[in-house]
């Protein structure tokens, strides 16, 4: 969200102001123009930003966000007046835009700061159409809500600009069929539209947190964008959704651990190796507050369980003093909901720490048959850790080496190799 400018001349711009204002204005204008005129909304916003680039080079305006809104409003009014005859604007605003009597007020209202949260939420719901793949949904979020260019999205996803443009094209063609932005009201707590947005935001967060980027273990900006957008769900008209709060809690807990995840050489540290003193308390507090909110209502979603697990890790003073029994219980519930091999290997690891290393080892070895895990580096790393807890150093060493060969980037590879070497040293 853009911060309101304080009185007096701002010395510098709020970080990411251009990108975030771009997202805010594109959503506000698409609400009026309709998704079929998305390109028109983008053009108006691009022009407003270009004007700012020219006008602000010697001196910033008192309130940059308000300045941009005003330029965008004037351009939008021009566009609507010129196109009023031949263009079909948003179904739910067509009448207000057709009459000079209500035109200016309607445009003003949509661009107002007070409408931002609703506009952003409606835009997210709109781009998460069920007929679009999750990757495409995330691409559209990065483009239209976060203000990233194709080249920047391609860099974030280790993809080519061509692939990203194809996704955007596919997204645009689906959005063109819609007459207006999706409504921000939900029928019930299980509304699939909300679930789709939460899944997309979680995917975006994970790309930043567990991403496969070769040189940057954590892309903080992607995590921050996922949390910023999720806040439109937890704070806006949909503030009652326990699932949105659960996702926010989960992301805050994970994010609080970013400062301890890699050492000074950029190599991942395992939970046991991390210095818990550098974990970000402020994000933990935020996570706890959202976890509390998420507990309202009878619902216990997978997100609730994952947030609960992340919470246990955050609260624990050390690896040994972690409530592993609670974590194992949460993994059991998670596995019952979704019996996936990835959850199973995590549950086995929790079992090893919860005092049943033999049972854990049996489970881990059995899982080797799973095709989904054979090439999953974290399966081999977790299995290595379980062997290590049983003092089976040679087996642990081999598992870590295997994980290293499957690593997706040098940071992962070096972390696995270091663990392998540590096993050798202790033999």
């Amino acid at each position: 969200m853009s911060e309101p400018a304080k009185s007096g001349k701002p010395e510098t711009l709020v970080a990411s102001l251009f990108r975030h204002e771009s997202g805010r204005l594109v959503a506000a204008l698409t609400r009026l123009f309709g998704p079929q005129n998305l390109q028109l909304a983008e053009d108006v916003v691009q022009e407003a930003l270009e004007c700012a680039l020219q006008a602000w080079k010697f001196r910033l305006p008192d309130n940059p966000a308000a300045w941009l809104s005003k330029v965008a409003r004037n351009r939008a009014l021009d566009m609507i007046r010129r196109g009023a005859v031949e263009r079909r604007f948003a179904d739910d605003y067509r009448e207000q835009l057709a009459s000079e009597w209500s035109l200016a007020t309607t445009v003003e209202e949509s661009l107002a700061e007070a409408s931002t949260a609703e506009n952003q939420l409606r835009m997210m719901l709109t781009v998460c159409q069920p007929q679009l793949s999750e990757e495409t949904q995330v691409t559209l979020i990065l483009k239209f809500l976060c203000g990233f260019a194709s080249s920047e999205i391609a860099a974030a996803f280790l993809s080519t600009e061509e692939t990203i443009d194809k996704r955007l094209q596919r997204g645009r063609s689906v959005l063109r069929q819609l007459g207006s932005l999706a409504p921000a009201t939900f029928t019930d707590s299980e509304d699939s539209r909300r679930g789709a947005v939460l899944r997309a935001l979680y995917l975006l967060f994970n790309e930043g947190y567990h991403g496969s980027h070769p040189s940057m273990p954590t892309r903080v900006v992607l995590c921050e964008e996922a949390m910023r957008l999720c806040a439109f769900m937890t704070e806006g008209t949909d503030s009652g959704s326990p699932q949105a709060h659960a996702l926010m809690a989960l992301m805050c807990f994970h994010f609080s651990r970013v400062p301890g995840r890699v050492d000074s050489d950029g190599i991942y540290l395992s939970l046991a190796q991390q210095d818990r003193a550098v974990w970000d308390r402020a994000f933990m507090e935020r996570g706890l507050a959202h976890l509390n909110h998420s507990a309202r209502g009878p619902e216990l979603s997978a997100l609730h369980l994952e947030a609960g697990i992340a919470c246990q890790h955050c609260l624990a003073p050390s690896l040994a003093a972690t409530d592993w029994a609670a974590i194992l219980g949460l993994y059991d519930l998670l596995y019952r909901r979704n019996p996936s091999p990835v959850i199973a290997i995590n549950r086995a690891l929790a079992r090893a720490y919860a005092g049943d290393p033999k049972g854990a080892l049996r489970e881990a070895v059995d899982l080797a048959e799973e095709p989904a895990l054979a090439r999953y580096p974290f399966y081999w790393a977790a299995r290595g850790e379980i062997h290590a807890r049983e003092n089976q150093r040679a087996a642990a060493h081999d598992c870590y080496r295997r994980a290293a060969t499957l690593a997706r980037n040098p940071a992962e590879e070096r972390a696995f190799l270091r663990n392998a070497v540590a096993q050798q040293d202790q033999r």
Binding site: T12, F18, R19, A52, L53, Q54, W56, F58, F148, E152
Partner: protein, 114 residues
């Protein structure tokens, strides 16, 4: 101290399709340069101009819409500064970020009235 005018031509403003992030990054460079000029006591005071406008030319005072210069020669602003000499003023202009987007800075001493 003497007064100088920088005349800016071209630059990022004329570059179409820059990403929001790239625009903000570029603006940050302008802010840093302007801040440095002010800090060193060069008293920068400038005005940016829009791309449209009118030109009046000749004995018959023919008025046309738009400056119609080649884009790279289009005036995009001017800035008055104080400096000890033309050499110093020109040296200070090297810190301007306009060259990144192929723009130019013309450095002119303001004519002395006495």
């Amino acid at each position: 101290m003497a007064k100088f005018i920088y005349v800016f031509r071209g630059g990022a403003f004329l570059e179409k399709g820059l990403s929001a992030g790239a625009m903000q990054d570029h603006l940050k460079l302008w802010g840093a340069w302007m801040g440095e000029l002010a800090k060193q006591g060069h008293q920068p005071a400038g005005e940016a101009v829009q791309q449209d406008g009118r030109t009046i030319r000749g004995k018959n005072k023919v008025m046309t819409d738009g400056p119609y210069a080649e884009l790279k020669d289009l005036v995009t602003g001017n800035l008055a500064i104080e400096a000890a000499s033309l050499d110093e003023a020109a040296k200070l202009a090297l810190g301007c970020p306009i060259y990144i987007y192929d723009g130019s800075v013309e450095v002119r001493p303001v004519a002395q009235m006495r």
